[in-house]
Amino acid sequence: MYGLGILKGLSVTWKRFWDTYIDDISWAMSGRKRYHTEEGIRHRSSKNTKGIFTVQYPEEQLIVPEEFRFIPFLVYEEQADGKKEPRCTACGICSKACPPQCIWIVRSSDSVTGKPVSTPAEFYIDMDICMNCGFCAEYCPFDAIKMDHDFDIASQGRNVYNLEKLLKPASYYAEVRPLNYNQEEEARKAKEAAKAARAAGTAAAPTA
């Protein structure tokens, strides 16, 4: 019969239409909130989602996974006296690996001898050119540059970030990427332990 295909298709939309309400009601009956809660958002992007799946940005925001990457930042260690000590050694690997070449680094030099010192004097990232590829974070040998999670950075001018704007504490890094942070800390501790053991070995050697 002509029109049967259309009716069949409409039955799908009809079912979809009710799915949202059924889902809403069953959530309400069990006293959970389907909207504006983390649980609700996770449900809407799980394999069991039915009916409406949209997330009402900006009132609701998708929960980004740990590996989510958006514009880099520089990690600094908080010293006891409140001084910021950047992990960056101005080795320049990030600026060499950067595909659109948006990282600009001025290496510090000793004020007396003029020899290069392994800290950055100036550090710029042109965020309008950055393509969020994550190579800088991937290839940094000192875990000094990492990709951020903060994506609401709309502005009216150019976004050229300098050292001051790029630096974020290691605690922030541990907060946004806990798994990566712990992994790196463990690797660092293991390396230091190995180094200490080696040093102890060489120190013990002459006396033996």
Partner: protein, 581 residues
């Protein structure tokens, strides 16, 4: 495993003594054909040796040897290794090479591209105009002595970035300092763009003339686009119409052209990986796949076993979401706005969530590295992939089919329109689902297996009518086959390292050439790379399926109705990031 250099299947030197020589440069394969004998050799390859599918044509500018080279990659639709042959000519303008469009019609746009970007004149080409650059553009951008605006250095990394990287904004530089060429006697005051006439003149050759001279009706030229919502980006199509019937049609492209290939030649090998994401931006995983397999072929390195599985899983998930979007967008273009496409988007979102969790980005994945992938798939994500593959997606694909496939209006619009025969499809170098819908079971995953596709049990989806309905249905067939591959892959995936190499931002690629190709969701995605042993590729060419598939659009449209053309564009599944490059 990286594939070794394929042996030549045909000995052309014996068949054409004195006319063809084997390419003996280290790292190169194939044959060098004399320019005078090119047409003869090509005709023999097509008619005698059965190389019916010429997939890729590109130029290479060997400026040091003062040579310009044209590289052809010919394949058989029955499968197997291909044949690469080249023509070398003196690098003195006018550089002339005979056109082969009368043998392989699919070369039409690719020859125009080589003319546009290299200035190689193909004598006998029916419509040799610029294709990606605008009419009136001066110079040939892919020649080695051409420099782009904001040119800094030949190769990256730029020396100005470190250790004295005082930041300057790009717009503060003087663009027109030393890399601007103007034609002799150019006066901007008097300049009028007159090349538009060429475009409309090129439409003439399809005009059907009334032989008896009765009822002469005027034809109307209509420009669809570039800002037309149904052209999937900025594509302009000039159409001559007789009433509603298309009499002639010419696509005008290049609005999104960014000289991707030149950027690729400035980049180091690793730096190009995120740029390939931006080709076909729906399928960055597939683009990565094609590029890294080509470079791995040149480097001759193995791929970690687990990474091979991850690659296949990601590429097939990418194919599924691409085809779902295809269906949604096709229906959108037919006038049924939003409902089907949003149903498709829902499943796509779930797949993109997986991409985001493993790679860090939903669309610009940048996930593949030479020798493997960048990071492992966590167990919870593998579980989510399993949930989708075994539970959700099969049911949702069925639902989508129930929703649409029998709809009388849809069937009425699609059935019997824009039929492309198998012979034409091959001759116009059409690849991917469009080729298979016209009855040619040619799928690179079977015909020329790469990665680990030879381990999986799946069928090559094929339909036989070549009309729009078959093109629509074959996407569902392909999704089901992809799901079959995924079911096997997620079961078989082993534990182990995810990269056979140490992470390094610079890789060593031995001198030579390679043409690597994969079955991207839209067709054959090929990369032709020439290395001279340095940190940057000497030549980097992308054979984009959207671009080459569009060659057949004229053939398919002449004599059909204009309203079906919008549906045809959706059906060819073009994406501008890849088409304009």
């Amino acid at each position: 495993m990286a594939t070794a250099i394929e042996p030549q299947t045909v000995d052309l030197t014996a068949r054409f003594p004195g006319k063809v020589t084997a390419d003996s440069r280290p790292g190169y394969t194939g044959f060098l054909v004399n320019k005078e004998n090119l047409v003869e050799v090509a005709a023999a390859l097509h008619n005698e040796f059965g190389f019916d599918l010429l997939t890729s044509l590109t130029g290479v500018d060997y400026i040091a040897e003062n040579k310009m080279e044209v590289v052809y990659n010919a394949y058989k639709t029955t499968g197997g290794a291909g044949l690469i042959f080249k023509v070398q000519v003196e690098r003195v303008d006018p550089i002339e090479v005979p056109s082969l469009t009368h043998i392989w019609h699919g070369l039409e746009y690719q020859e125009r591209e080589a003319w546009d970007l290299f200035g190689i004149k193909f004598t006998g080409h029916p419509d040799l105009r610029r294709i990606l650059m605008w009419e009136g553009f001066e110079g040939y951008p892919l020649r080695k002595d051409w420099k782009e605006a904001f040119y800094e250095e030949e190769i990256k990394p730029y020396k100005s970035r470190w250790p004295e990287g005082k930041h300057i904004l790009a717009e503060e530089k003087n663009v027109f300092h030393d890399n601007l060429n103007l034609p002799k006697g150019f006066d901007p005051e008097k300049y009028i763009v007159d090349k538009e006439e060429d475009l409309y003149a090129s439409l003439e050759r399809h005009t059907l003339k009334d032989e008896e001279g009765r009822m002469r009706t005027d034809h109307v030229v209509v420009n669809l686009g570039p800002h037309h919502p149904s052209t999937h980006g900025v594509l302009r199509v000039a159409v001559t119409l007789n009433g509603e019937t298309v009499m002639g049609l010419k696509p005008v492209m290049g609005y999104l052209h960014r000289n991707h290939e030149k950027i690729g030649e400035r980049n180091t090998y690793v730096q190009t990986i995120p740029y390939t994401d931006r080709l076909d931006y729906f399928n960055s995983m597939s683009n990565n796949f094609g590029y890294v397999t080509t470079v791995e072929k040149m480097m001759n390195i193995p791929v970690a076993e687990r990474a091979e599985y991850i690659r296949v899983i990601m590429a097939e998930l990418s194919r599924i979401q691409n085809h779902l979007i295809f269906v949604g967008m096709l229906i959108n273009d037919l006038g049924s706005m939003y409902t089907p496409s949003l149903y498709a988007f829902e499943e796509r979102e779930l797949i993109l969530d997986i991409f985001e969790a493993v790679s860090g980005s939903r669309m610009m994945c940048n996930y593949f590295r030479f020798g493997g992938v960048v990071r492992d798939v966590p167990d919870d994500m593998l579980q989510k992939i399993k949930d989708l593959v075994f539970d959700r997606l099969p049911a949702k694909v069925d639902e989508m089919e129930r929703f649409l496939s029998e709809n009388e209006i849809l069937v009425g619009r699609l059935k019997g329109t824009h039929v492309l025969s198998a012979e034409d499809a091959i001759n116009y170098s059409v690849t991917g689902p469009v080729l298979r819908a016209s009855g040619v079971p040619y799928d690179l995953r079977r015909a020329d297996p790469y990665s680990i596709y030879d381990r999986f049990d799946f069928d090559v989806a094929v339909r036989h009518n070549g009309d729009m309905m078959d093109n629509y249905l074959i996407r569902f067939d392909e999704i089901r086959q992809s799901l079959r591959i995924l079911e096997q892959a997620v079961k078989q995936i082993p534990q182990g390292p995810i990269n056979s190499q140490k992470p390094n931002y610079q890789v060593k690629v031995p001198a030579g050439e390679a043409y690597g190709r994969i079955e991207a969701p839209k067709g054959e995605l090929g990369f032709y790379i020439v290395s001279n042993g340095k940190a940057n590729p000497y030549r980097y060419h992308v054979r984009a399926p959207s671009f080459v598939n569009l060659t057949a659009v004229e053939k398919m449209c002449i004599g059909t109705k204009i309203q079906d053309f919008v549906a045809l564009l959706a059906m060819l599944d073009i994406v501008m990031g890849e088409l304009d490059r």
